[in-house]
């Protein structure tokens, strides 16, 4: 009887261990897929903003009495520093996603401190991306609405296509930053499961 009880005990122990390894492997695959997704989203956001440029013919009056002259006006993304910061943040996050994909693939299964370093860097990327999103949204909104109190005119009534491209880049970057946030949460869940 006793030997039978011992046999059953050891069998369930083996199943538990196999279940744990299978869970870890599933989590590792999920993490890799998320990193690839983050890489693609931030890359697309950076590219969409980087190629945004629009030239329009604007009729301006040089003197109040002379007839209006048609002047070509251009807007590019690097005219506004907030967009430069947004692009740099997305480029950094994109490069980091590729780098950490390689690192996490090499780190699978080992119990080194590299996992903690990756979590910390993921956190920094979350903060950086969110601040870049906030900056670009603020300037985009300013261009869309203007601000009557400080006499800042709206720009998007003239450069509509540029504003649409900026909005698309912001949405993509927001999705990318949510993926980074989910990566941190997933890592914490994995740690919690392993510490039980």
């Amino acid at each position: 009887m006793e030997s039978q009880g011992q046999y059953i005990g050891s069998n369930s122990g083996m199943d538990q261990k196999e279940g744990k390894i299978a869970n870890q492997r599933k989590a590792g695959t999920c993490e890799s897929i998320l990193r690839i997704l983050a890489f693609m989203l931030t890359l697309t956001a950076a590219v969409v903003l980087g190629v945004s440029k629009q030239t329009e013919i604007v009729s301006m009056k040089i003197l109040p009495t002379s007839p209006p002259i048609d002047v070509p006006a251009t807007t590019k993304w690097h005219y506004l520093s907030a967009f430069v910061y947004f692009l740099v943040a997305n480029a950094t996050a994109c490069a980091y996603a590729a780098f950490s994909l390689v690192l996490s693939l090499g780190n699978r299964g080992t119990k080194s401190g590299l996992g903690l370093v990756i979590i910390f860097l993921d956190l920094l990327m979350v903060a950086l991306l969110f601040s870049g999103n906030g900056a670009a949204t603020a300037i985009g909104l300013m261009g869309y609405q203007g601000n009557s109190h400080v006499q800042w005119n709206k720009v998007c009534n003239v450069f509509g296509r540029f504003c649409n491209q900026v909005a698309a880049a912001i949405v993509l970057s927001l999705l990318g930053s949510l993926v980074f946030m989910y990566l941190v949460v997933l890592a914490a869940l994995g740690l919690h499961r392993r510490s039980k």
């Binding site: 005219y79 506004l80 910390f120 969110f130 949204t137 300013m142 005119n153």
Partner: protein, 200 residues
């Protein structure tokens, strides 16, 4: 009795009856390093609360009236939607910080479910970090344009006239940046403690 070819510890378990299923193996006393963690956690959270509160107060009381010729122009924080979002986001973050400070304090006195609480702290702290970071970026972008102006869009700089207002805004931004750094430290502290709890 029993065909055992397993190691010798089986002999000792023959004398001691196996413990019944689901019995607690004695309550483990809380190890001192986790008390240490929660004390640091409480201090950091209180600092986040203080920084968010200070930030909100500094920007809300910033109001400047300047006479530009015959007209009187006023600069207030609610003239810009970016600053309104900044105040709202930091107020939420400050409220969250004080609530979790109290929660952390209560865990020091009654250390139950500390691992699960660490996990929940990680979730919520990452959300709060995203909120505070985006608020800092939003207000920072508008403040930068107010400081430098922009030639291409013909947005004139405002900080030369409203210097006291701009100083208040810069102060609020600095404290909110400090709060976001503290939040990064908090999340990392929670994950580090979870990592330390993994049985080797």
């Amino acid at each position: 009795m029993g065909s055992t070819d397993k190691p010798a510890d089986l002999e000792t378990t023959k004398e001691v009856p196996p413990p019944p299923k689901g019995a607690a193996y004695g309550s483990t006393p809380p190890p001192p390093k986790h008390d240490h963690f929660f004390v640091v956690d409480v201090v950091l959270r209180f600092l986040v609360f203080a920084a968010s509160l200070a930030s909100v107060l500094v920007i809300v009381i910033s109001k400047q009236k300047v006479h530009l010729g015959p007209a009187l122009s006023v600069a207030k924080f609610n003239h810009s939607p970016a600053f309104i979002y900044f105040v709202a986001a930091l107020s939420v973050a400050g409220l969250y910080a004080i609530l979790t400070t109290l929660l952390s304090l209560s865990v020091i006195w009654k250390p139950i479910l500390s691992t699960k609480l660490l996990l929940h702290f990680v979730f919520l702290d990452v959300l709060a970090l995203g909120l505070v970071a985006s608020a800092t970026g939003t207000a920072g972008a508008v403040a930068y344009i107010g400081y430098k102006g922009n030639d291409h869009t013909h947005w004139l700089k405002v900080c030369s006239t409203f210097d006291k207002f701009c100083k208040h805004v810069v102060g609020a931004l600095a404290t909110s940046l400090f709060a976001s750094v503290l939040l990064v430290l908090l999340v990392w502290l929670s994950t580090f403690t979870l990592h330390r709890k993994i049985p080797k």
